[in-house]
Symmetry: C2
Subunit: 134 residues, 2 copies
């Protein structure tokens, strides 16, 4: 039985360089994007200020947060709004597109969370086997 996704030819073509899947998976593979999306999703009205994100996305640098937000804005996952106050207030809000992404991302994150012990066990087994033959 052929896989429906394989049949759709979405992965096909002589070159995967411009493949949308690779492109967006790479974005998600960047953990900071996922952390920013999840943090916004958990904020009132799916909206947060730069400083809120800095505080909640533990470990992110100011520069990395700026880059991540710019990428997500460009992809239409969030919007950036500047309020002309002193100092200027900048707010980031998840778009309808960003909220839609949340469902599949959550499902994947939950799966990873649930099966993580199995993956860790498998890695330990593998490393033992490899050590034994090398």
């Amino acid at each position: 039985m052929a896989d429906p996704l394989a049949k759709q030819g979405f992965f096909k073509g002589p070159d995967h360089t411009n493949c949308p899947i690779s492109d967006l998976l790479a974005r998600l593979g960047d953990k900071w994007s996922v952390l920013v999306i999840v943090t916004l999703a958990g904020s009132p009205d799916h909206r947060a200020r730069f400083s809120d994100l800095m505080r909640n996305v533990t470990g992110i640098s100011q520069r990395m947060l700026t880059t991540t937000l710019r990428h997500l804005e460009r992809d239409g996952i969030l919007t950036r709004r500047v309020f002309p106050e002193v100092p200027p207030r900048v707010e980031y809000t998840l778009t309808e597109l960003g909220l839609g992404l949340l469902g599949p991302v959550r499902a994947l994150v939950e799966w990873i969370e649930q099966r993580w012990p199995d993956i860790e066990r498998s890695r330990a087994d593998y490393d033992t086997r490899i050590d034994a033959i090398s």
Copy 2:
């Protein structure tokens, strides 16, 4: 309303370096892993030989396929079996864990496929705006 995932503290801690989510998302962000998983899923008995994968995962190099398969084997997503023939036959089979991953991965891939035009439109708009102010 707080996000249930945020509340679980799965993303928390002083350091995300060892975060399982980042770890596995990075693996998925590597497009070859996803392509190999989807190809195996579409093969009879979720099983294929190295040469089948080379043929079906368009554009992958022999070396990259070897690396990808080794990582996926280590994670317990697939098994590798060598049959003592001449030349030796090597078969890769999706495990129960790998099959389970397929559901959430498919959902994500389908979402990307469906919303890709919106993402492209957003990128074009963004680039136009950026050009206008620079």
